[in-house]
Structures are given as structure tokens and as C-alpha cells.
């Protein structure tokens, strides 16, 4: 029964195949992602980020309780906040990504699931018989054969066509200029050349693997930036940067896409 649920949630057409081969990844000057060539086996990566509907199917099937529901330690956002500031909200979880007072996900089934931890993402993957992409796999899929910072070329002004990001100068005022302050439904923006949606923005996507400056086993990584990221703060909506976070942390801009 569980396997049937998982199959329904993740059909074959929802993945893009990436052929085996040698790929260039990294960027000059990045200690955690220096330029290099990597050899990858063939893999498939989901076209979209994992949605609330998909995560709900997992929770219904397993009764799983997320870290944020158990530990009441989710970090949420509501303007005005200084740059890089988040609010700890014990009521927040994937069902109420920015806390109960800021609304639930009743009409957000197609939005990416957020306010989940890396461990929660792994639990979903075990159930769905998929896995998180490795850091290099994510980058190869994102680049889709391109070599610059962005798969659409060097003009950052085009970001708004491809990604749900923050367009305000800071986070003291809400930014709804692209229609969304928080997450957008997956695939609301243009895909990359391989047909993958929201590789930049919407949610930071957990990836498996470690980087040279990791100082603790608790550190895990995520890529692609999120709805929170602006060109003035964070700017991780690109093909090269690798963010980090604690393994038990649940943020309302943190989600994942799966691979197999």
C-alpha cells in the first residue's frame, strides 16, 4: 500500500534523466565549490520541488511527525526583520510554515513543502523510495550544460522570469512584486534548459554530501536560494553557491526535490 502511494506521488514523467558523463562544476574563488571536473553516473531528478500534497501523502501513509512538530523549533519570517534574521515560532511546521498566526497550507497543496528539516526530507525519501540529489548532481542538473553563474546567461535582471525571489532592497517591508511574498506553486516560473523548475529561488533545496569547510557532522547543505533571497542579501540563487544549516533546523524557506 505504501509503495502504491509512493508511485502515485512520483510518476516517471515527473523526472528528468541526466546522462552519465564527465561534467564541470564549481566556481573560481569558492572554497566550498572550486572549479573541477566530476564523473557522474546516470541519474534522474524531479522536475519540481516536493510539494505539500506529496508530503501530506507521506504523512498520511506513515503517521510521521516532523522535527518542527516534535521540537517546536521552526524558524519563520515576517517583515519587518533585519537581514538574515528569523523568528523562532513553536507553532510553525510544514502544516503552518510561518506559524499558526500566519496561516496554513489549505490552498497551497502545489507549493513546495517547507519548515521541514534535513532529517524529515530523508524520511520522505525513504518512504518514496527516492533520495536527495548529491551536491554535484544538483549542480549538473541546474547548469544544464551552461558554465556561468546562471543557466539563463549573465543578465541577473532575467532572474524574475525563472525564480521566485525577493525583489525588495531589504526585508523591512513585504515584497509581493512578483505575486508572492513566501513560496509560489511549483513550476510557476520558466524552467531551466533541461525542463527543471525553480532551480533558483522558491525554496533552498537540501542536497546530500559535504564540503571542505564543514566543521561538524550536524552541518547539512542546500542549494539554489529561496523566496527570501535578494540580490542584496544571500544571492544564493545561482548554479555555484552552497548554503549550510543545522541538521535539525526547519526554516520556512527550506525544502527539497528528489532524485533517483
Amino acid at each position: 500500500m505504501t509503495a502504491l502511494f509512493a508511485c502515485l506521488v512520483l510518476s516517471a514523467g515527473s523526472f528528468v534523466e541526466i546522462p552519465a558523463g564527465e561534467y564541470n562544476v564549481g566556481k573560481e574563488g569558492r572554497l566550498n565549490n572550486p572549479p573541477r571536473s566530476v564523473r557522474l553516473r546516470r541519474f534522474a531528478i524531479a522536475k519540481t520541488e516536493t510539494t505539500n500534497d506529496q508530503f501530506a501523502a507521506f504523512v498520511r501513509a506513515t503517521g510521521y511527525v516532523t522535527d518542527a512538530e516534535r521540537l517546536h523549533n521552526a524558524m519563520v519570517f515576517e517583515p519587518p526583520l533585519k537581514e538574515f534574521r528569523w523568528i523562532r515560532d513553536g507553532s510553525a511546521s510544514w502544516r503552518f510554515p510561518n506559524g499558526k498566526t500566519r496561516g496554513g497550507i489549505e490552498s497551497k497543496g502545489k507549493h513546495p513543502v517547507t519548515s521541514i528539516s534535513y532529517r524529515d526530507a530523508l524520511a520522505y525519501c525513504r518512504w518514496a523510495k527516492v533520495r536527495l540529489p548529491m551536491l554535484d548532481e544538483w549542480e549538473v542538473a541546474c547548469r544544464a550544460g551552461t558554465s556561468g553563474d546562471y543557466f539563463f546567461g549573465p543578465d541577473l535582471a532575467q532572474m524574475g522570469q525563472y525564480a521566485n525571489v525577493w525583489h525588495g532592497r531589504d526585508h523591512l517591508e513585504p515584497d509581493m512584486s512578483d505575486g508572492y511574498m513566501y513560496t509560489a506553486p511549483v513550476a510557476s516560473f520558466k524552467p531551466n534548459p533541461s525542463g527543471l523548475y525553480d532551480m533558483y529561488g522558491n525554496v533552498f533545496e537540501f542536497c546530500a554530501g559535504h564540503v571542505p569547510t564543514d566543521s561538524s557532522k550536524r552541518t547539512v547543505h542546500a542549494r539554489g536560494g529561496s523566496w527570501w533571497c535578494s540580490k542584496n542579501a544571500c544571492c544564493y540563487f545561482n548554479s555555484a553557491d552552497i548554503g549550510s544549516v543545522d541538521i535539525a533546523a526547519s526554516f520556512s524557506n527550506q525544502g527539497f526535490r528528489v532524485a533517483r
Binding site: 569547510t213 566543521s215 542584496n232 544571500c234 524557506n253
Partner: protein, 233 residues
């Protein structure tokens, strides 16, 4: 040819190690002396907490003496953080002055609301302890720098400049001086090309940096001292 390649590879390894070392140097914290052993024991206890909540209770925090609270806040961030601020993993850190200093805590942690409230509500007394700690220790660690920025601690400009003159590798001290001038709205500095590049331009971001050359260092130090001497600062 093989020899040359080996030498080049060794040089690259050495450069990477040095870059990593300097990153570690930037993130060193300064340990205040107040009840240090007791507070470190307490923090070790929190870190063993299997429930992953990295904090003491409000009652536990309240029971600490003022100095113990200061030491605790300087050594331990209670809330999760996301590390996605630009300068942290950039190569060549030793030769750059960044627009924001390195984060104070390892493992992607940050101060909680309880901790920030302690700092801001007790600003005057905390500034005094920061002054004492900078005087007693050899450098201004990443934790003290963050506290000075959090409190807009312009009173500590002479302490910062003295610390910088003791260790001119610590360019994050210059960063703190720039932030104090920015947050204090110091007009003369805000008209400089340095300010425009680091904070003023539409595209200015957390990734911005200056070359740590003599001219940039002198400009920042001179403006900071002038700001400190400004009547009514």
C-alpha cells in the same frame, strides 16, 4: 613535466590550506573571563541535549548572574541560522575587507531573541564588559564584533582601532568600523566611494569587499576616528 605538475599541485594544496586557516582565524571567538569555566560546562551540557534544542530555559537564563549571562551569550548562539551570507567561503579572505564580518558561531547557530534582548536591554553595562574583555584579551573575536554591531557600539571605536593596530591581519575590525559609521549615519563617510560600493549602491550586497590595501585601511581608520571625535555622535 611530472615534477612541475607535482609542484603545482602541492602549491595549490598549500594555498587551499592557508585559505582555510585564514577562514578559521576570522571566525575565532574571544572568551570573556567572567565565570568562564562554569558557563563552558553549562554549554557542554546543552550541546549534549538529544532533543536538539540548543538553549537553556528562560528560568535557567534568568538565574544566571549578569556576568554569566554575558559570557554565555558571547559563547553560545541558541537559535538556528542559515549560512548563505556571501563572504564566508570566498578565497583570498586575507586580502579583503568584507562588507559584513564573519559569523560568530560554528554549526550555523545565531543569537536567539532572548539573547539579543539581553544585549540591547543592558546596552550600557554590556558595552562596559566588551571594553574590559577587549582590553584583557589579545583580539576582538567574531563574537565580540557581532555584539558591537548589534549594539551600534560606537563608544568602542578606540578599542577597535587599538586592537587593529595590534593585529593588522584582522580586517573584520575595519568592517565593524564601517558598519558603525553606516548605522550611525555618519555623513562624511556615506559620501565616500567606499561606502557607495559596500552599502550604498543599488547592487551592494553581503558579498561586497574591498582590497585590503593601505589606502582603504587608512580611509576607514581616519573616518572612524573622525566619527568618534564628532560632537554629539
Amino acid at each position: 613535466m611530472k615534477k612541475l605538475l607535482c609542484i603545482a599541485a602541492l602549491a595549490m594544496c598549500a594555498a587551499t590550506i592557508l585559505a582555510g586557516d585564514f577562514h578559521a582565524y576570522r571566525t575565532v571567538v574571544t572568551e570573556p573571563s567572567y565565570s568562564l569555566a562554569k558557563v563552558k560546562r553549562m554549554i557542554r551540557g546543552i550541546k549534549r541535549d538529544q532533543e536538539d534544542n540548543q538553549r537553556i530555559s528562560a528560568a535557567g537564563f534568568s538565574a544566571l548572574t549578569f556576568e554569566e549571562k554575558f559570557t554565555y551569550v558571547m559563547l553560545h548562539g541558541e537559535d538556528f541560522n542559515q549560512n548563505c551570507d556571501g563572504g564566508m567561503t570566498i578565497a583570498g579572505e586575507a586580502h579583503k575587507i568584507f562588507s559584513y564580518p564573519a559569523d560568530p558561531f560554528p554549526d550555523d547557530m545565531a543569537w536567539s531573541e532572548q539573547q539579543r534582548t539581553f544585549l540591547t536591554k543592558n546596552r550600557h553595562a554590556v558595552i562596559k564588559l566588551l571594553h574590559e574583555t577587549i582590553s584583557n584579551r589579545s583580539r576582538v573575536g567574531a563574537n565580540l564584533k557581532s555584539a558591537i554591531v548589534e549594539l551600534n557600539g560606537h563608544e568602542l571605536i578606540p578599542d577597535l582601532i587599538s586592537a587593529y593596530n595590534r593585529d593588522r591581519r584582522d580586517n573584520d575590525v575595519l568592517t565593524v568600523l564601517m558598519l558603525l559609521m553606516k548605522d550611525g549615519g555618519y555623513g562624511p563617510f556615506m559620501y565616500t566611494p567606499v561606502y557607495m560600493k559596500m552599502y550604498g549602491d543599488e547592487d551592494a550586497s553581503y558579498r561586497m569587499f574591498l582590497d585590503a590595501n593601505a589606502a582603504n585601511r587608512k580611509l576607514i581608520l581616519d573616518y572612524a576616528m573622525a566619527y568618534y571625535r564628532k560632537p554629539g555622535r
